[in-house]
Symmetry: C2
Subunit: 122 residues, 2 copies
């Protein structure tokens, strides 16, 4: 449980930065080398590596070294964890809205105002 | 677009803390007063107020003041924004996996090894 919490902390913190989100977006399309990841970003390779490290520590990405080639991949499990956490909270408030709807539906309808032309049956 | 990015930054940053997540969880069940929100948390009311401020700035919660009563509510739109961002990235990599599956399915099946008892039709 503590681990799960720690992971959520890291995943959400990693996603709180637009550069890292753009890297996650890129890696969701296909694995990429570090220079490929860095190409569209207006920052030094060192800065890109730092962002990449945050993504790796959070579990959002994984880097494989084959000789001198580093390939970064997305780790879907970490994104799934975050998505599930949000979806579970959404389920809570949707259930609450459903309950409110039921309460309103079960409430007795307000009595119609007596119309002047209507007569009581005797 | 810049605003959308800024919102995502704030929402993900707000969710990167276990105390704030527990407050979002509580508010997803029902609106609550500040003291109600603070009750299960082992921290000062001032610290709770700071967390609440982060949630409000990110758009995850809203506080209404009626006289001396403050009621906090969840703002589902902010959570929806974060959920949609993750779901859109998931859609990207699922599409990629589907494409890989198609490529594998379309690849010519390996030729069966000639069986010793089979004869060519003449």
């Amino acid at each position: 449980m503590l681990n799960h919490q720690a992971n959520l902390d890291g995943v959400f913190r990693a996603l709180a930065d637009p550069t890292r989100r753009s890297m996650v977006e890129r890696l969701s399309r296909a694995p990429a080398g570090v220079t490929e990841l860095a190409a569209p970003l207006a920052m030094s390779l060192a800065a890109v590596m730092q962002h990449l490290q945050v993504l790796e520590h959070s579990g959002l990405s994984r880097t494989e070294n084959r000789g001198r080639v580093r390939t970064c991949r997305i780790e879907s499990a970490a994104l799934n964890l975050a998505e599930r956490w949000i979806a579970d909270r959404r389920a809570l408030w949707e259930r609450r809205l459903d309950r409110l709807g039921e309460i309103l539906a079960e409430a007795p309808a307000p009595a119609p105002a007596p119309s002047p032309g209507r007569k009581k049956k005797s």
